[in-house]
Amino acid sequence: MANNHLTGIGSESKQLATWYLTVAAILFGAQLLFGLVAAIQYVMPGFLFEILDFSIARMLHINALVVWMVFAMFGSVYWLLPDETGIETIGIKVGKLLFWVFTAAIVVVVLVFLFVQVGPADETTIWFITEGREYIEAPRWADIGIVVVVLGFVFNLYATGMKGNRSGIVTVIMADMLAFAGIYLAGMFFTDNITVDQYWWWWVIHLWVEATWEVYVGALAAYGLITMIGAHRKVVEMWLWIEVAMLFGSGILGMGHHYFWIGTPEYWWEIGALFSALEPLPLVAMFIHVLYDWGKTQGAQEALGKKTSVINNKPAFTWFVLNAFGNFLGAGVWGFFHTMPQVNLYTHGTQFTSAHGHLAFFGAYATILIGMMYLAVQGTNGIKVLRSTKTSIWAVSMIAGGVLGMTVALTLAGYVQVLVSRAQMGATWAGYFDGQSGMWFSQAMDWRLLMGFVTFLGFLLLAKDLLTTGKNPVHER
């Protein structure tokens, strides 16, 4: 089944997809490396002091994260577009040019971050060095460049979707990507009022990761279920619309949970609490959905007397299932337990947030995008059934185990911080360092570093597997 999805050879859109996915994988590695530097600095504060300080290492860590995910998202769209629309992507030449523009701009931004680092307190710094706003530090010139590139991408997507067969999945992605691009504009201005600044900053950060990105993942999961296990398109697409309703219905106003303490009015407490409580529901629903479709298609296959698995890409499917589970665990469990304002008053700005950030970004996004990389490997090599190799199993186990280990360690550290620095000493300078000096906190940071190394080794195995498994004779061609 679904064999027409598998050939990437000859499609320029799919070729461009592999470029995007390759750069994404490289940036993923960079993200982990800078994360390791920052994790070492927690344990050995003198490490690279005044050479590559924590602020710079962390900035590169989180910006590489955002950028690799955006690259992988673009790549995944270029990959699935010919399958879904039945035609070659329109404007692919422009798309390829924009890919090189985007990549070159990212390289320049990273080099400036690494070697210039900070600037004087004036507008030239904002324009050419850093905007200094967490996650979207990229200087203004790069912002404008990103908008141009994204508009080009959205144009290709719309032109292709409107000319070819516009499936439900493509329709969702079209609407979603327009919102994704538009929201970025909310983060491109300077104001002296830090409350106004953070109000709009959250429009970008929250409406990306808790609304548009989640919907995008829903669409990818739908594509994956159809491609990998031959799930019924009608069911999958209807379900996708329900997910869109649930995700946007809870996620857009779930923004309230970022407006508890930044100077915004108190009514955001109720709005934030209510919609945050609803936010796990779509994640649970996505989880059931994967389980349901898997159970149904496998059941149908067995009813025909075939005992073989319905899955035609084991490693990708593993990552997709991990996504359903990780989204639920990272965004759902780790999000919910510090989202109520009564508790968030104490947990806001502690390592709890960091624990949640690690597991949620990994669980909700990294997993499924890695899954897409495996789909691309299968497609470009013309493989009918891609099997797991020892390397791919080790890679997924070490990465998932490492991230989960880091998350648990950071959660413990956050717990110490809440009790010592927050509940008792109220977030003063002295309270902060008392919390950081405790034995539990420092041991948690040791474990986090160790687990970070495990994750990085897992990444090396993943890179090896992605590069070599396509030629491995174990697969069915």
């Binding site: 019924h232 009608k234 069911v235 209807m238 379900w239 329900i242 109720e270 609490a273 209510l274 409580a277 609803l278 796990p280 529901l281 649970v284 629903a285 989880f287 059931i288 959905h289 389980l291 349901y292 159970g295 149904k296 059941g299 639920f328 759902g332 469990v333 780790w334 919910f336 337990f337 510090h338 109520m340 009564q342 508790v343 104490y346 717990y415 809440v418 009790l419 509940a423 008792q424």
Partner: protein
């Protein structure tokens, strides 16, 4: 007039000993909630045997109980308490509605 300080309006802080139960119970809300819908779906699609179904509802009860513990230790206000109660009822119905819809689409398209 002497100003009377009404302590009841000062939103109560959380007692140090309550933080751990709050974190554990709120994590369990989602975990048990996951078990509830997971077992429900697995039974419905035939991955689990029928007798496992009551177990699903036991997990829903545990979910509701953990949410109750969490809410009371946090001293949530009336509005939030009502919202959480509604969420629990909604949660009880959710997998039923989802399964009903999925099943119908399958029926309509497979035959």
């Amino acid at each position: 007039m002497v100003e009377m300080v009404d302590m009841s309006v000062i939103s109560p802080g959380i007692a140090l000993n309550d933080f751990l139960p709050i974190f554990v119970s709120s994590a369990l809300v989602i975990v048990f909630g996951g078990f509830y819908v997971g077992i429900y779906t697995a039974v419905k699609v035939g991955m689990f045997k029928k007798w496992a179904m009551p177990l699903a509802y036991v997990f829903w009860l545990l979910t509701a109980y953990c949410l109750y513990i969490m809410g009371s230790l946090m001293h949530v206000g009336d509005f939030t308490a009502k919202a959480l109660g509604m969420a629990m009822i909604g949660y009880l119905l959710l997998p039923h509605a989802v399964y009903y819809m999925q099943h119908q689409v399958h029926e309509e398209n497979d035959h």
